[in-house]
Symmetry: C2
Subunit: 314 residues, 2 copies
Amino acid sequence: MELLKLSEVKTISSIGGGPIGGGWTAFFLSKGFNVVSYLHDKNEEDVFMKIVNTAWKSLEKLGLAENASLKNLHITSELEKALNGVHFVQESAPENLELKQDLYSKMGRLLPNNIIISSSTSGFMMSEIQTRCSTPERTVIGHPFNPPYILPLVEVVGGKKTSKSAVQWAFDFFKFSGKEPLILKKEVPGFVATRLQEALWREALHMVDNGEATPLDIDKALINGPAPRMVVQGQCMAFHVACGEGGMATNLDQFGPALKWPWTRLQAPELTTELRDKMVNGCNEMAGDTNFEILASKRDEAIVSVLNALKKKS
Amino acid sequence: MELLKLSEVKTISSIGGGPIGGGWTAFFLSKGFNVVSYLHDKNEEDVFMKIVNTAWKSLEKLGLAENASLKNLHITSELEKALNGVHFVQESAPENLELKQDLYSKMGRLLPNNIIISSSTSGFMMSEIQTRCSTPERTVIGHPFNPPYILPLVEVVGGKKTSKSAVQWAFDFFKFSGKEPLILKKEVPGFVATRLQEALWREALHMVDNGEATPLDIDKALINGPAPRMVVQGQCMAFHVACGEGGMATNLDQFGPALKWPWTRLQAPELTTELRDKMVNGCNEMAGDTNFEILASKRDEAIVSVLNALKKKS
């Protein structure tokens, strides 16, 4: 099958009238695409438009494409019409496996087989969703992060029957549309970002459960501690740069024993030479030729700009 | 013992010549205090001043106090001189328990017993550090987050022998000096922020270990996903607002079963009614009278301002 050129994508079908479907609809409109949104029930339209209009306010501030307009939105409750002539499908139907399997069975028949179908699901893997689809090669996960109209991340991963070219096309298309997609190495429950967030969340629940912190304490600690740095440097580069010239190697070689300490209830993996090298090489590659002093000063500048931006808001 | 009025604090002793001691020194100078910094060895002075000068650049952009100046810094390698006549001590000596116990024994004798001593330690609890101090009532943990001159969080907790009034004084003083202190409910290894960060970090190590993600994947996922929201809303309020009017109650009652799913290797605690209510009430208190639509639109505005601030930097 020959996939479309990215520049040929003019019209996108967004399936689902909830906050995720509405968020995607607004996002694609803001980038200048035509969007056909499928709502299961015509009566959902008012709530749906409220979601779209709310998202639009933020998208305007982030910058609209030249030809972007809410007028490029069409709403329908007929699946066939929602799929007719579209160049890409983003599915955000309710998180119900049978419902999704049924939907992919229908979409598989209704859509030309060179049209990529991407699912917003956070709870299922594409290998499960695509089981009853007659053309599963072009079905992928494209998992956004809430709120989906603002946050750039889209996690892209195929199922067992998905073709590699479909995964690559979805990645390229999300990038082209202004998102920050990430191709996952494996299908794993929760993908990457939710797994990391969920580890933190479970530790938070433990702390509240043990009377070690309140929800307010948790939130204050995050907002004033790790978060302003994490928006600038991920956890790997944060540790790499914090350790000065020695970087991640110093972090693991020197503080490795701390992984045995009961800081959180999550047991760390065995720090094998292989794992150590994967972490160290990964960080060195990210740093490239830039030395740690420049990395640290760029980090500081960016954190300052984030804190100053937030100060202006409050 | 009668503790000082906050307005009486003019001169601060900062113990330690590393990045944390240097960071605290720069921070207190930027707020208009006199600082006497103790370096173990006079030869550390060049490296120390480089840390202070680097931090100063960021502090200038965040806004200096009227009378702030690097000229208000005095450096000494004699502990007695470093403590003479000061109104508060921030200790950032190397993470070595015996060394710290010895230091607190000396400081306990040298300082009038109404002067609060705060430790930057991340690895020890004050109950361990204060064992050989003759005046342990005024010794507290005041744990900053790296980089300590920029990030607002200071976690405050006493040891078994610390007085409640000392903990409260330290909290009040950090707040007065422009930090965002947090009094911890219990002495627990890693305090709050590091425990949460460490849970995330251990999950990240597991993912790299299993070939599910590279360090680059981890960092991209965080920076483009949870982080821009987390700097605006902590994880509790993020979930509370994401669930609409039902808030945290909906989150736990509806998605509680997902806590059994293998999203991360960290087992969640049993979701008892008590834990549920603690989470729900905590979030409702944080939300106060503000309805979820306003909370969501404030969140979006703030995330947009963060993303736009970062866009300008790159």
